[in-house]
């Protein structure tokens, strides 16, 4: 965030945050998977997309909104702990952003896809790691959860991120109405 928050960043963060909340309250963001955590989630995707589009600051704010809403909506004790529900989510958009920026020069599509993958992995690893540290899960349980939840999450995350961001970037110049804080 070299220039601080522009109107564009504020609005995009707000709107993607709204999607994160919506996916949570309608439970559409959950994919039922038979593991200890109960559900795989796609709610981290707004944070990933925000991070790619507007930088790590926006990604972090969307992650915060996602974390707080999952904390408030939680149906399992695990996510009623702010240290598990909120703190790890801050980093989803940040790692996604740095993955994207690091690989952008090599290949734009690869960068977007991998950013989606890394963002999802950040969520899985940090949340489960925190769950182990805070004593909600044994290490073995966490590991199987990571495989059975984390992998589908990461795959869905790659597909959606790639579809949304490339569609947006291709159409970007035409769709981006404001010229004041533009520059995708």
């Amino acid at each position: 965030m070299e220039k601080g928050l522009t109107v564009r960043k504020i609005v995009i963060a707000g709107v993607l945050g709204a999607i994160a909340i919506l996916l949570g309250v309608t439970r559409l963001g959950y994919i039922p998977v038979p593991t200890a955590a109960g559900n795989a989630t796609i709610m981290h995707i707004p944070a990933v997309i925000g991070g790619i589009m507007e930088g790590w600051g926006v990604g972090m704010i969307i992650g915060l909104i996602f974390g707080v809403s999952s904390f408030l909506n939680a149906t399992v004790p695990l996510f009623k702990d702010p240290l598990v529900a909120i703190l790890p989510r801050l980093f989803i958009g940040v790692t996604a952003y740095f993955t994207y920026v690091g690989l952008k020069r090599t290949n734009e599509y690869l960068a977007i896809g991998l950013a989606g993958f890394v963002g999802a992995l950040t969520n899985t690893i940090l949340v489960l790691g925190m769950a182990v540290i805070r004593g909600y899960m044994a290490f073995g349980v966490a590991l199987t959860t990571a495989v059975f939840n984390g992998l589908p999450e990461a795959i869905v995350s790659v597909i959606v991120t790639l579809a949304v961001v490339t569609a947006w970037k291709k159409l970007g110049s035409g769709k981006q109405k404001s010229k004041v804080s533009g520059g995708l």
Binding site: V7, A18, I21, L22, M137, Q176, S181
Partner: protein, 278 residues
């Protein structure tokens, strides 16, 4: 089946129950701070009696705020199967890690000790307490009050150049757009269904299929959201909204005696929850 499309009706975010109790009339800044302190204390507390005490405090909070207890219970009901499954898993597999305590039962890798039982009971109680507390907070405070209160509370962070106003604007935008997007999503689901797409009809174990069903909704949803964002950006910039410039406020809060009293009470309660040694 048709119920699956009624998204906007089921959204209870920002549900507010105006009973005009003392808790409703508290200054939102003090209310938020008090609840944050209590939730923090609950998150740290790992003792039986401490948690029982916290539970009693939470239930008392409902009667003080004149909110029927079933509002809080309705948040717990859908969670009961999850709580039970998780408790069982913790009970069976946690014994290995929980150091100390008396071992009651051991068979292979399954080990049940007093420590693992404590963990299961405490995290279940903690869950109920946090649901109760957050229900009281959201039911007794409107979303406007919440965001105003948060903005003021974070005010000191301006000093380290944290964009507090922008931040609370983001939250306001997010909350504002949730119902709008719910409507959009409903429209898209109906549009897809009328063309023969099937939602929620796949069996629950067919994970891949169910996930695939989601994609034609999620991706357009993001696109709709982003184009709405463009409209809002344009609208704000034509009205010369400048982030970070000095602004005047429409509402002003003035702390009264009861606000300080509420804060003092919650600090005392939090200290009591943490100080109970068993």
């Amino acid at each position: 089946m048709s119920a699956e499309f009624e998204l906007s009706r089921n959204i209870t975010i920002g549900q507010y129950l105006p009973t005009g109790s003392v808790i409703h009339r508290l200054d939102p800044r003090f209310k938020l701070a008090s609840f944050a302190i209590l939730i923090l204390a609950i998150a740290i507390c790992g003792t039986y009696v401490g948690n029982l005490f916290a539970l009693a405090v939470c239930i008392a909070m409902f009667s003080v705020s004149r909110i029927p207890l079933h509002y809080g219970l309705s948040g717990i009901k859908p969670a009961i199967p999850f709580i039970i499954i998780l408790a069982l898993l913790q009970l069976l597999f946690y014994g290995e890690i929980a150091e100390g305590g008396t071992v009651y039962f051991e068979w292979g890798f399954i080990k049940i000790s007093s420590e693992s039982i404590r963990l299961v009971l405490v995290s279940a109680m903690r869950f109920v307490e946090v649901i109760f507390l957050s229900s009281v907070l959201t039911l007794s405070t409107s979303t406007t009050e919440l965001t105003h209160g948060m903005e003021r509370l974070l005010g000191p962070l301006e000093k380290i150049r944290f964009p507090v106003h922008a931040f609370s604007l983001i939250i306001t935008i997010a909350i504002r757009f949730v119902p709008t997007f719910a409507m959009e999503m409903e429209k898209m689901m109906k549009a897809q269904a009328s063309r023969g797409a099937e939602f929620g009809t796949g069996e629950w174990w067919r994970i891949v299929r169910r996930t695939k069903d989601m994609l034609p909704i999620i991706i357009p949803l993001f696109n709709v959201a982003l184009s709405r964002a463009e409209d809002l950006i344009l609208a704000m910039e034509t009205r010369c909204y400048t982030p970070g410039s000095a602004r005047t406020r429409y509402t002003h809060y003035k702390a009264k005696g009861r606000d300080y009293l509420a804060l003092a009470i919650s600090i005392a309660l939090a200290a009591a929850v943490l100080a109970i040694p068993w």
